[in-house]
Symmetry: C2
Subunit: 238 residues, 2 copies
């Protein structure tokens, strides 16, 4: 950051992009500690603090786990790239949004094992799995990404660990009653943070009932819109 002022809370949220291309710079453990400490300030059900973060750097099992993930990601992306036509139409233009997304994804999976830090976010269950269990771990994941941003790093959440979940559990000794909530890649961004693209606010906010417009919901001047991204992204790109 150029300024001496710390990044503001609102500005930080508005400019934290998903980062999938990383510089090779290592992440000092002091920074990692700061990120995880802020992650764990997030709320959780009954303040039970059921979130646990398994950090994968260069330990022997971390190397195995990263290899498992990397291989799975590459296979999945190769399938998706083909099935979703990333090599055809606008996807064949490297300057198009779709083309740039494809190049970014390719680099993310190709270099996954070299990601400076991989954090596996988990949640220790206290009951049978429920669709709202994530309320106790995803707020902390968001804090982790925001804290990374505050320190000049960036990251992305992916769910593609699900492709090799049994192997990953075996490799890292993660018990069955623990939910694998997210794989979070973190490092110094090759690209830049900046404003994110979202649907117009009026499509996301209702008042007094489902699909009832909130007349006051509007984007500040200069907000960049988007739809849901290329159609091909709607099926599970991390």
């Amino acid at each position: 950051m150029a300024s001496d002022q710390p990044l503001g809370l609102l500005e930080g949220m508005a400019t934290t992009r998903s980062i999938r291309r990383f510089r090779p710079d290592p992440v000092p453990v002091t920074d990692l500690n700061t990120m995880l400490w802020h992650a764990t300030r997030a709320p959780s059900g009954s303040n039970r603090q059921s979130f646990r973060f398994v950090v994968l750097r260069d330990g022997p099992r971390a190397v195995q786990a990263r290899a498992l993930l990397g291989e799975a990601f590459r296979a999945e992306w190769a399938d998706k790239r083909r099935l979703d036509g990333y090599g055809t139409g606008s996807g064949s233009d490297p300057g198009s949004r779709k083309g740039r997304m494809a190049a970014t994804m390719q680099q993310f999976v190709d270099r996954f094992e070299q990601t400076p830090v991989v954090v596996l976010a988990t949640n220790v269950r206290h009951r049978a799995p429920h669709v709202t269990d994530g309320a106790s771990v995803y707020p902390a994941c968001q804090n982790l990404l925001l804290a990374a941003r505050a320190l000049g790093y960036g990251g992305v959440i992916t769910m593609w660990h699900a492709l090799v979940e049994p192997q990953l559990r075996a490799c890292l000794d993660i018990p069955d009653e623990v939910m694998l909530a997210a794989t979070i890649a973190i490092g110094r961004p090759e690209g830049h943070h900046g404003p994110v693209r979202r649907r117009p606010l009026g499509e996301l906010v209702y008042e007094d009932g489902w699909e009832q417009p909130a007349p006051w919901a509007e984007d500040p001047p200069g907000t960049r819109f988007t739809g849901a991204g290329p159609a091909s992204l709607r099926r599970g790109t991390p």
Copy 2:
């Protein structure tokens, strides 16, 4: 905030407490808009932006929905207060942590209908319910709470809408394929924000495998610890 500087990103995360006691001040729609805009900057699966926020202020259905929620919360809290012994042991001392928690909860449920703003966070499903669905909505909920904090408000997430979910869906016309992710109460805090209490970081962060210590994980000087809160809180207090 006393200072002219905006609240910093890291400081904001470290000092956003769950707020359950609100001053009656209304929340201007410009502030509500700013909060929800920042909420929607959060990531979601494939940037699908499947989160939708239903704002409940003083519209006719909002009033009904708040009454449904308030009644259910009061009944649930009355049961819990009794079953979990909030009137006995340290709970009978109004100055104890348990006693203060009980008083706060009592006020939260007693005045729920007067909560300045209630936001129902929802997620439009694109597949059968899955335990990781929350990855597309709870990061936005966390941003909402942080943005509230940045503007001098506070809030709390509760899951107790589950007690009256069918009635709430009927009242607000929320389709079955939409997940009710969280009820978030927002207003000007009666109390104060400040450092949160969490377990020592070393209990929450592992490296290279489940329950393997991360030797570098340590709380900064001055961090206040806690266990998981009073035992009686472990069964689902919002």
